[in-house]
Symmetry: C2
Subunit: 285 residues, 2 copies
């Protein structure tokens, strides 16, 4: 039995989404989902105060009976608890899988930087709301059940990370930013003007250029608002342009995005011959 604890380091999960997520999970008898009550807490923009969100994350991640911690959703806020999380996570967190995307990338990146657990870019429980959202949930549960065909199809033997572009830009240049030397970096974005995508690419590639990354892949850039004038190029051209300026190889598309099709990207070196597609030393022993 894989025991998955769900908490909300960013914004609140609507309680009515628990039942449809559990319905999907009922088809995966090897998976048990445990929703932490903090998922439904509210404090202004966030799913409870910083202290509440941190406490819930630590309870889930420091519980030795839990195998994976799944972030309920993004929506902004996990960056506010990254530093204390790194401080107070125990040895019990080291072998855990941490699943999330979007704003959850602050934690995934920070954990990866600190070498704690196995961060994995993946759909989140809130995705059940989307058209086809059941597929997104099922993909995570299938991956946890040992089905590597859920992995992002471009993954190769190079270490890889995946981020929302805004999230990566806000990490890039801070001390929470992991060293991505030799990594394939996948990014996706949603609801940003193309000039903002260009600006975020400027910043992010300006930092990545000094890391000797293997290259950049672009996921979907969706729901781009219309500006008062056309930008003059598209998201792929923007990514190619900044990669060329910064001498970063542009490697093509990535099958990630703010949509139900968002695929699984375990941070680091994915090994298809191991269960769950991640190098889990204790699990493999």
């Amino acid at each position: 039995m894989v025991r998955v604890a769900i908490c909300a380091p960013s914004a609140t999960l609507p309680r009515e989404l628990v039942a449809p997520v559990e319905h999907v999970a009922s088809h995966y008898p090897g998976i048990e989902l445990i929703f932490h009550d903090q998922c439904f807490a509210e404090a202004g923009h966030f799913a409870g105060t910083d202290e509440q969100r941190l406490e819930a994350l630590l309870e889930c991640a420091n519980d030795p009976t839990i195998d994976a911690v799944w972030f309920a959703r993004g929506g902004y806020g996990s960056n506010r608890i990254c530093e204390p999380a790194l401080t107070y996570l125990s040895r019990a967190a080291d072998d855990k899988i941490f699943l999330g995307s979007s704003d959850g990338g602050y934690l995934l990146g920070s954990l990866y930087k600190a070498g704690i657990g196995h961060p994995v870019h993946a759909p989140m429980p809130l995705d059940i709301k989307r058209e086809g959202g059941g597929d997104a949930i099922a993909r995570v549960l299938a991956w946890l059940s040992g089905h590597p065909e859920t992995l992002e199809p471009h993954l190769d033997n190079r270490p890889t990370v995946a981020f929302n572009l805004t999230t990566l830009a806000m990490l890039a240049g801070t001390r929470l930013m992991p060293d991505l030397t030799g990594h394939v970096v996948m990014v996706e974005e949603v609801s940003e003007y193309l000039y903002s995508v260009d600006r975020l690419m400027f910043h992010t590639t300006s930092v990545l250029r000094h890391m000797n990354v293997a290259g950049l892949r672009l996921g979907r850039v969706s729901d781009v608002p219309e500006n008062d004038r056309p930008f003059g190029s598209d998201a792929t051209a923007i990514a190619q342009d900044w990669c060329a300026r910064m001498a970063i190889p542009f490697l093509g598309p990535a099958d990630i995005g703010h949509d139900f099709a968002n695929r699984i990207v375990p941070f680091g070196s994915a090994d298809r011959n191991l269960p769950l597609g991640v190098v889990r030393a204790p699990a493999a022993a």
Copy 2:
């Protein structure tokens, strides 16, 4: 006669704004404004291609008969020409004043980093469009005419910089970011959700915390869009919170913003006893 060349490193200046700006300038007989034709060029989002915008900037800044270079407006894009600008600016740029704000902050910050010229946070010609915009234009021309009462009123003997928060966040962590040790850092923002202001403060203070800055001052945070839920605090509380987390002194308000009242902030150490409020070694000699 102070000769001021105007170019547009970011977006296009509507041509019909030239006359009202020149009307204001007619009251300052010691100032001559020279609008570069590139101000009116268009290429997608920008006032001409990167090459056109760079060429115009270099023509203005490398012209020894010009005293000041004034950025026509923000609107995104000056970051795309910062690196080649630093490469190709000549000795003639070293003694010049560079005036701008908003997106122009990429150039101001890059020039400051490189020690080229005298970057000055100031209103821009496009501000003539605002209610009270004539006052904004007049403030710049009065400052150039030697009226130090146009300076931001909190300026003291500590070196100071002023930026749009998004602009500073995108510089922070890149190699274009100036060393702000000992500096008072003023920031302002416009048209961003409070959660986005919080996120930008997270990133910016995460970088500034390692620079031993003198402290942060908050300018106006205006035109905040309404989100689907209240954030839970206001812009001042957000700035205070991140300053406290990062052990950066919060110094109070700054009289800057995306509005006609935006005051003048010469980068570095302003000396009220020198003309123009900047330490201009050759001019003072």
